[in-house]
Amino acid sequence: MTRLSPGTLRILALLLVLVLVGAFFASQIDNYLNARLFNRISSSVAIVALIACGQTLVILTRNIDLSLGAIVGFSAYATGALVTTAPDLHPILLALGSLAIGAGFGLVNGLLVAYAGVPSIIVTLAAMAIFRSALVEFSGAQSITTDDLPQWLVDFPNLPLFTVAGLQFRAAFVAAVVIVVLVHLALTRLRPARALYAVGSNPDAAEMAGIDARRTVLAAFVAAGALAGLAGLFFLARFGNITVVAGLGFELKSIAAAVLGGVSINGGSGSVIGALIGAVLVDLIENSLVRWDVVSEFWREAVLGLLILSAVTADALLMRRLTRLRIRREKAAAPATKEATP
């Protein structure tokens, strides 16, 4: 039997929690488990997953980014304004534009955190308000409406690419998953990306090992901003009507997704695949609570918070038990290997 790595174990535990949550709501809500539910969740996860992926990169370096929601909103509005004035703009250029807008904001955050040494929670808290106000100023109270957008963009999120067992896989969702997988591959295979883990788990040791910690932190913020910028484009395509409240609250949702997905808030540990599943979990809980009669409108946020808390706690307990189990098994196996060596 090949041994599962702690990371894989964590993913499996998460999937188990996901199934349990789904099973619970299926027992509570009529007509719950169907293709529609998959469409709902996958379509909205397409946006949140990108932001949660970016948030994970930042959290890995022991930082946090509270401005991602504002970046999503700004990018959604700015790309909307851009494509309204230049409707023939090539989709690739538009996507690059959204990445650049987000990266620009991320650069501001990153410079202040990495080089000016201001704690990230303060920098990005201020940035959240500043970016949002910048959007209010930039928009001049005009909203972007679906009518202004080219048809390909409006069609993109709901375009079914392929169907598996009656479940539609739509373009935006597939694109988001592909991006998360690419980021995951980079984080596990590429040396510069591995530096994020090194800086997050032990900054001093990382310095000693010749890693430029500042540049790594800067890169994390720029990448997170870029991903949030792209999420803004996805947001624009899906909702069409963009006002200054676009993307409000996504920063907290992305943190919830990352933490639920097993990304340690202390940095240095976690994966973007986990954050993706975390995003699915948050969305599943949110979507289901809306349809669960037992919880009133006013209590939903509280229940969502409670469920997240219990999911994280359950996950932590499960992980601890599994790790202990493994240590015991390794200890049991150890004498045998010792005897074998001489």
């Binding site: 106000s133 209010v136 909702f239 009507n241 200054v244 409240v245 349809r291």
Partner: protein, 344 residues
């Protein structure tokens, strides 16, 4: 019928107040004014600002007209703060579209005590404390009837529908929904319309969109989503269109022609209604200017001329005991026939 009665009552009141003449406002008096929307960056509030600017220029007020609002994520706290600041700075009048429920009351009362007139528009202070008068865009009872009528017509007189509102704290939304419910209960005509659920999208596209879809999932027989909010109605219409549900579930409510035109034309939202936000801003400014310069007393029964919009009377607000209002009205109902002309 209702209108004739209202008119008769109005005539009766003006007759009893022997020679109550409509006051004409004297222009040119200096008073600083603050227009305070729920938050910045929503088209309808900007239109109200344009209307206020028009009145500001017309009344040749040498003072300042400031358009100050909180950012969206900080709406309640921001409104309270701006209200407090305006009071301490001795601004003549604050024109408020209240998003803070009764939480704004202490700040509004403090401002009123220091001499600032609080005129609400769009959304009033629920208990009316601290507020001089509310400029009601339409009669809140009439809003319920207009929505009930649109629902009746779109659904062919029977079936299930749901309401998609803004935030659970918005006084105007809650009053409209309450009036819709009472209209539905009081008239036999609507006996077969069943309001199954009210949900809140908090005036965010994303939340409203997801709530609309959740409504469809929860109620397989749903025939209509009624959204008395410009953000909600647009998001709901887009959600139904994206998921190919327009044949099955229609959308109606209060919407901006510019944002709703395509959905009206393709049948997703066959009917919706709204009033003119520029007029609302204009009328609000006229009243606030009159009160702040002492030309209007704000008493019940006081009649005045609001520039190009003509005569209005301050009256008791039927929806809020002890509070006063000026009723603007009326509604325009938009359909595929007239929506394009209004959108431009």
């Amino acid at each position: 019928m209702m209108k004739t009665l209202g008119l008769a009552a109005l005539l009766a009141t003006s007759a009893t107040m022997a020679l109550a003449q409509a006051k004409t406002l004297t222009p040119g008096q200096e008073v600083d004014m603050v227009l305070l929307p729920k938050f910045l960056g929503i088209l309808v509030f900007d239109q109200a600002h344009e209307g206020a600017q028009e009145a500001h220029a017309e009344l040749q007020n040498p003072g300042e007209l400031l358009f100050q609002g909180p950012t969206p994520e900080n709406s309640v706290a921001g409104q309270i703060e701006i209200m407090t600041t305006a009071g301490t700075q001795g601004v003549g009048a604050v024109m408020l579209s209240n998003n803070a429920g009764d939480q704004i009351v202490p700040a509004a009362q403090a401002a009123a005590e220091s001499g600032t007139k609080i005129v609400t528009w769009d959304s009033p202070i629920p208990n009316g404390e601290g507020e001089s008068v509310f400029i009601a865009q339409v009669d809140f009872e009439e809003t319920g009837r207009v929505m009930a009528d649109m629902a009746h017509e779109i659904m062919g007189g029977e079936g299930q529908f749901a309401v998609l509102s803004a935030s659970p704290d918005a006084a105007n939304q809650n009053a409209w929904i309450a009036s819709l419910e009472s209209v539905l209960a009081s008239d036999e005509k609507y006996a077969n319309l069943e309001l199954v659920e009210t949900v809140y999208g908090n005036d965010q596209s994303e939340e409203s969109y997801n709530r609309a879809l959740a409504l469809v999932d929860s109620h397989p027989d749903l025939k209509l989503i009624m959204a008395p909010t410009t953000v909600g109605i647009q998001a709901a219409a887009k959600a139904m269109q994206d998921e190919g549900l327009c044949e099955q579930v229609k959308v109606s409510g209060l919407g901006l022609p510019a944002e709703m035109a395509s959905y009206s034309l393709n049948g997703c939202a066959p009917q919706f209604a709204l009033w003119d936000f520029r007029d609302l801003g204009y009328l609000t400014y006229q009243v606030a200017y009159g009160l702040a310069t002492g030309q209007l007393t704000g008493e019940e029964g006081e009649t005045f001329v609001a520039g190009r919009m003509g005569e209005y009377t301050i009256e008791a607000d039927p929806g809020r005991e002890g509070a006063k209002r000026v009723l603007m009205g009326p509604f325009t109902v938009y359909t595929a026939e007239n929506v394009e002309a209004a959108a431009n």
